[in-house]
Amino acid sequence: MANVDREYQGLAFDYVRSPDQDARVAVRHPVVVVGAGPVGLTAAIDLARRGVPVVVLDDDHKLSVGSRAICFAKRTLEIWDRLDCGDQMVEKGVSWNVGRVFFQDERVYSFDLLPDSGHRRPAFINLQQYYCEGYLHERTAVLPAVDLRWRNRVTGVTPDAEGVTLAIDTPDGPYALRADHVIACDGSRSAVRSLMGLESKGRVFRDRFLIADVRMKADFPAERWFWFDPPFHPNQSVLLHRQPDNVWRIDFQLGWDADPDLERQPERVRPRIRALLGEDAEFEFEWISVYTFACLRMERFRHGRVIFAGDSAHGVSPFGARGANSGVQDADNLAWKLALVLAGKAPDRLLDTYGTEREYAADENILNSTRATDFITPKSDESRVFRDAVLRLAKDHPFARRLVNSGRLSTPATLHGSALNTPDAEAFGGAMVPGSPMTDAPGTMRGHPAWLLSCTGDVFTAILFAGDRGFDEATIAAIRALGTDGIPVKVLIVTAAGATVPSVDGIDYFADDDGAVAARLDARPGTCYLLRPDQHVCARWRTFDADRVRAAVARATCND
């Protein structure tokens, strides 16, 4: 049987000599991304789609080994939708919304991460990281602005006032590049970070976990199953996830005293899995790893022309799937800002807001991940007594379920207090406060079913709610004018279900058939939301005024 996944896991990319290696003077590029993982590739795709040429350097020539990041969150999928590579991920991935918690030999409760309908994407998909990277790589291959160079290892980083000089080692020997900006997406052991003498600091957890990817036929549902202290692995926790291709990911907590070299031996892992699945279970190993983890971050993510994104900048425990997901959000936050700065349409200090916004998000992720880790691995006897008490209560006492923490699963940070937000001047209800990533909702566009989020993003977008009669000519003229500004604003007019608003050529109309957009945005006729190119709300009003929209765009781009 032809096995597409085997091919992805086995792919090896050719090293190709670049003409830059023959240049006598280091060739200059606007952006060099270091690291072709999910974060680096996402950043490269986003920038290239904005017309920014990007060189991507990777020290290896293969995709990730094993499932690794595995859980990709709704927001990450929405970002990849904006970059035209979400469908492939979702079609291959295993979609899931439900998590189930067990304590000892009992089912305690389950939670639904996406109880509302009317969203294009599920709460999560499970997908081996090599597929994710493979699909992103295929996306870069059709973008001529991306120049991906395998087996290019960065060995020196020398920033100066005008740029950054990178020393690079290749199978053909060393060469140098100049970059206006470097984005370091080279992972938790970032070479760029250590070459610059910088550190990522925080708390290291004294615990070890075994990961086994096993291929087998099994009939567990597509849910996240988490056991505290199960009979088959007493005093520790176990986590089970379903992946594509009949591969299952099982994480066993081992404790700090476990010997990692011993524990990753298949003959040692097999009985652990049999204990879970039964003595006659048949399976084969895809990947086995033993890991420890830390919650840490760099003090600042921006160091002049070198910008850190993903695991190089921040690390979390795996409970909550906040690693790769937050890294992809870093890329989402950075790309539009960097493109505007490179185009001369925004001042350099816009890049500082990448740091402040994503450092804030990293703190939120670290807080959630640290709390989950303290629940899963109690640090004192008393902490364990309360942990077990919560689990015992949870089965029949709804309040206690809210205290169970098997990982607070990744949701995007709402950028409260960002300097790029225009604070509300009018009263609004609902969750879409300035700084929040826009929610999705179903509707109709040009006669076809459509999703709200798919009609926004890439550029500033104003979502404007029409009354029954639409807008007068002066308003239509103002909407058109916004589209021709230096930093253009696309206006999406939302019409209520059943309303017959006269449409005007060249303007997009989104029919809110279920009323979900109006409900989720607490909208009335005239309500206007302004979204940044990364789909975060940056301002909202009860009436449309093009000058206020322009002022909010100026604020969101540091042009005020």
């Binding site: 077990d388 008490a389 006492h397 206690a400």
Partner: protein
């Protein structure tokens, strides 16, 4: 402060106290610790108000003798 009610609020204090001690009857130290944890969590949820809960936690901790207090106490 003083959001936490520290004035008498239980109508029949002796009945309550007896019931509290009864809750632990025939339990060993470890089991009693579990029962106390369950009780704290149940009551905390019933109270709900985080400021009240934090004040109660602060008072509960403040009353714990420090190690020097313990060591200077006559045996």
């Amino acid at each position: 402060m003083a959001i936490l009610n520290i004035e008498p609020n239980i109508a029949q204090p002796d009945d309550f106290y007896e019931a509290l001690i009864d809750m632990h009857r025939d339990l060993d130290a470890e089991q009693s610790r579990m029962a106390n944890a369950h009780l704290i969590l149940l009551l905390a949820n019933h109270v709900g108000d985080e400021a009240v809960l934090r004040e109660a936690m602060q008072r509960a901790r403040a009353l714990v003798p420090t190690s020097s207090d313990v060591s200077t106490r006559p045996a």
